[in-house]
Structure formats: C-alpha cells, structure tokens
Amino acid sequence: MTTIVRTDGLVKRYDGTVAVAGIDLEVGAGEIFGLVGPNGAGKTTTLRILATLLAPSAGDAEIAGMSVTRNPDQVRRVLGFMPDVFGVYDDMKVWEYLDFFARCYGIGPAERRRMIADLLDLVDLAGKRDAYVQTLSRGMQQRLCLAHALVHDPQVLLLDEPASGLDPRARVELRELLRELRNLGKTIVISSHILPELEELCTSVAIVDRGQVLAQGTVSDIERRLRFGSVLRVRLLLEGEDLERARARFAADPDVASATIMEDGTIEVGFRGDDAASARLLADSVAAGLPIISYARAASDLEELFLQVTAPDRPPLEAALGVHG
C-alpha cells in the first residue's frame, strides 16, 4: 500500500508547552486511520499541521508526496479538512455554502452545479438545499461541513472529532457516510476520543498521548502486542475462604501477574502468557480440582487498550510496546 500521509518527527511547541513531541505517522492510501487519544494529547495540533493551518516547530509532514510546509497551496488542493469546532455563516443557504467553497477552489459554474447536487445527495441533505445553514440541526451541519471538505474531490480527508456532539443516530449515519467515502477511494484520517466508533471503522489506529505515538497499527495488531497484558476472567463454584485459596493458587502461577477477586465473585487474572500457557493454566486448575464454571479472556476492545496505554502511571505496557513494537 502506498503511503499518502506521512509525518516525520513532527514537533509543535507553544511558548513553554509542547503539544506535539515528535510524532511519526504513516497512513496508506485508502485507509481509514484513527488518531486516538485523550483531550490534550496532540491530535488536533497534528491535524492542523497536516491541514497547513499551523507550522510545525520541527519535523515535516507530507501529503501525497508534497510537504505541508513547502507546498501548502498544493497540499490544500488534495486535502479536505473538517475542524473539531467550526461555525457556519449566517444568512447563507445550504447550496450557497457549498457553492462558496467550490469557488474558493476555482471550480467552474457547470461543475459546481453538478457537484453540489451530488454532494447533497451523498450527505443526505438534498431536501435542505434552500434551507438557511443556521437552521440545520447539529448533525446536519456536521454533514454539511463534511460535504464542504469534499467539494474539490480531495484524495485525503482530515476529520477532527467529527462525531462530537452528535446523537447516536447521527453518529451511526456519519459512520455509514465515512464507509461510503472509503469505498469511493478516499483516505480518511479521523481523530476521536470516543473509541467504539473508531474500532468498527478504522483500518488502523495510532494511540497518541502527551504528544507522542504510543502504539500504531491495526486494532488487532495492537491487541496482539498487548497480549502481554491480557486479562482472564475465571468463575468458580466456590465462595469465601475456598475462593480465596483458589485465588492464591492462580496468583502462584509463574505466568500470572495478578489475581483479584471481583465483586461479582469472579477472579480476574492478569496473565502474561500466550494462548498455550492459558490452556495449560486451565488444565492445571481443573486437574487440581477447582470447580471452574467459565474461563475466558476478557474482550480487549479499543477502549480497554486505550485506557491501558494512556493510564497516568503507564504500567509495564508502555515499555512492552516500546520494546516489542
């Protein structure tokens, strides 16, 4: 897959604080790439540098082989940007809004007419063509803003928290729309701190915190690397002291980092081993006569990964990512 967005040691300093501390990203053409991180992680700054709205303090970024610092004008032509917070012009109709941005890209009148009709169909606003922009709902404005980023048929879309402030239905609609855009061959870089939507959508993600990339790859890839810290949930037909003895038995296993009795009576086992080790632990426990009802790996979704990786004290996981990544 050819790389279409690349950042190379991107640094952004504001007097005294460092917003981005050396971010290296590679996004392949046609990907939906998720930039995940808590507020203040440096996602917005990174996207604004890519959108040529901010100059990096050090490092550079390329979009479709063009430097955002040296060829901002050319980069703007292959790039559609939707900021996290955006306003709409008062006293402007929906079609006029798109017409204005199309003119900014120097698109001719006939093409503008055709393109506006197509885009309004795409974002499901064809019925609102003559409505005033400020009368649209938040979700509709969000879709209109996405449409504005598409007027010049860009190769790359940068979407900063596109789902923030949307109700669940609007969020689902947005997700569908992004899938459709991906099918149209667009590369989409999307930032979010709301994870479930990215997990279903993204072909790969980068987890960003404090201006640095902590992990990058496909969701399953990151998950695999994090197996090092997977969690097993074991339910036993035991109570009280018997349960405590079972916990101590699990804790004594060389592959187990921790074993805790949860409120619902299950034992949560922090497990370091691989799948074979996990099978061995189960066999040993059954052979030792523990009445096990269920024994399963806790589903490690993106949200959990995110919480693990961005935890304030960053337990050994970060080191694991650094070493094994």
Binding site: N39, G42, T52
Partner: protein, 326 residues
C-alpha cells in the same frame, strides 16, 4: 520527497514565470470573486438594502434643499454680499455641505463595515475552513474589503445625480465634483482598509471596532487638533509668514494627508476664486499644501494579508494566536 509544481509540462523559464503569474492572478481574482459573491449574497438579500438607499437619498435631498434655502435667505436679507454671486454661492454652499456630510458618512461607515470582517470569521470559527482552502490571503482581504464597501459605494454613486443639482446654480465645475468623489472613494478604501487591518490584528470584534474608532478619531479630529495647536503656538512676521514656534517652522503636513476632511476642504478650496473660507482654513493648517491626496490603503492592506495565516509570514511564534487544544 517530490515537488509537484502545477504546470510541470512547461520547460522554459520565462514562459513558466509568466504563466505562473497569470495563474496566480487568475486565482486571486477568482478568490476575490468567491468572497465577494458570498458576502454580497448575505448583504443584498431582501429589500432592506434598497429601502435604505431610498431613505438615504431622501434625507440627503432634504439637507441639500435646506442648505440652499439658508444661503438664499442670507442673500435676500442683504447679509450675504453682492447678489450677483448669489447663485454661485448657493452652488458652492450646497456642494460643500453635501460633500462634508458624505465624507462624515464615509468616515463612520467604511471602517465600521470592515472592522468585523476578519474577527467575526475568527469568532464564528469559520476562518479555519477558509484558510484550509487554496484561496490566497490577498484574495480574502481584497474580497472582504470590496464587498464590505460595495454598499457604501452604492450610496455614494446614488448621490451623484443629487450632487449634479449644484450645476444648476453654478460656482462648481464638474472637475471639482469629480475631485470630491475621488477623495470620498479614497477615504472609503483607506479607512475601510484600516478597519480590516484592525479586524485581522485584534481577535475580538468589539475590541477591533473600538481600536478602529479610536484610530479614525485620531486620523480626523486628532490630526486636525495637532495642526491647529501647532499653528496657534507659532510666531508670525508682519506678512503672516511663520517665523518660528516651539515645534519648529515646518508644520507636520504629513498629518494633513491622512485627514479626509482637510482633503475635502482642499477640494472645496478649488472652487473658490480668491481667498475663500475653505482656502484660508486649509492654508492656515497646511501652509505648503498642494493637492492633498489620501492614500493609506496600501499601508493597511499589506499587514492585514499577513495576519490571516500568520505562520506563513512568521514561521515561529506568531501563530500562538491560532493555538487550540489538541
């Protein structure tokens, strides 16, 4: 890394540079048109704009009639001097009154129309959307300026037939009217650019408007006051020539160049044959005056362009203003 110039098929250096200039000019013109169309769609929607023009012309006509009547009354009661010149005096009086009123209107309306044009984009968070397009900063600034002023220009143009009434009385030539209108348009462009500059420099519209008003007052009342004060402090010989004073012999005539009212007084002075009131006013303030022209437009527009995408003008530091969370 590969640079991909837009027009790679061109080989020789000179045509490339000419072609690039042409493309650049075309893009800027297209950008100005884009901004202009957008702004005017909003401003000219509905009948409001045209109702205001009608009311404005009505008020202006009433004012011209009152001034003419007042001057005529002065002559009929014998206080105005020889009635042989009454008609010319009425023409000059109406011309001066209309021109000063319109200058006052331009001085207030032009900067007011532009003082919010960039800062409002910032406040409404639409500037990012615009800055992420390839539209040039120059196109944004010029488009904003022209579209903000176009309504003012409409008012000025609508007043031309009314102003032509002075030709009925005489005393004022077409070239005087033309000079007056040139100063009006230059004032609108100059103070409009000043408002735009403040709007791009100061983040908030209210603050930008306050700075603009303060600047306009300094350019009008302030400069006139300094000149009057300077003149009053001087010493003169028997012929009325300045011989000295606490601030030196030469008056700070540059100050007069940015004052549109002194410029209009100079226009009015052109209609007077000998030692009229406007000429003596101008001469007393600016002894060396010789056709004051009002040209601060370029001085303000350049800085406004650089403030739109500050990081492109100043790599480090200047863009802290656009800093956001992330």
């Amino acid at each position: 890394m590969t640079d991909q110039p837009v027009d790679t098929q061109l080989t020789t250096a000179a045509p490339v540079s000419r072609r690039r200039r042409a493309i650049g000019f075309g893009r800027t013109a297209g950008g100005i048109a884009a901004i202009g169309v957008k702004e005017l769609r909003g401003r000219m929607r509905g009948r409001r704009a045209f109702v205001i023009v009608t009311i404005y012309l009505g008020l202006l006509a009433g004012f011209a009639w009152m001034i003419g009547t007042l001057i005529a009354q002065g002559y009929s009661s014998g206080f105005g001097g020889s009635s042989a010149f009454a008609s010319a005096a009425i023409g000059q009086g109406v011309f001066a009154a209309l021109l000063m009123l319109m200058t006052l209107q331009v001085v207030f309306l032009a900067p007011a129309a532009t003082a919010g044009s960039i800062s409002l984009e910032r406040e409404k968070q639409t500037l990012d959307l615009l800055a992420a397009t390839p539209i040039s900063s120059l196109a944004i600034v010029v488009g904003k300026l022209l579209s903000a002023l176009v309504y003012l220009f409409l008012l000025i143009a609508a007043s031309v037939p009314l102003m032509a009434i002075v030709f009925v009385y005489g005393g004022v030539g077409p070239e005087d009217v033309l000079r007056g209108y040139i100063v009006l348009v230059a004032t609108a462009l100059g103070l409009g650019s000043f408002g735009l500059f403040c709007s791009s420099l100061v983040k908030r519209t209210t603050a930008a408007t306050a700075v603009t008003i303060f600047g306009v007052l300094a350019m009008t009342i302030g400069t006139a006051f300094v000149l009057i004060f300077w003149t009053a402090m001087g010493t003169f010989d028997n012929n009325g020539n300045r011989t000295g004073g606490p601030f030196g012999i030469r008056s700070p005539t540059l100050l007069a160049y940015i004052n549109p009212f002194i410029a209009q007084a100079d226009v009015m002075c052109g209609t007077e044959t000998t030692f009229g009131a406007w000429c003596s006013a101008v001469n007393s303030l600016v002894p060396t005056q010789n056709g004051i022209i009002f040209t601060e437009e370029g001085a303000f527009e350049g800085p406004a362009v650089t403030m739109l995408r500050p990081h492109e003008a100043d790599e480090e530091g200047a863009d802290t203003a656009t800093r956001r969370r992330g």
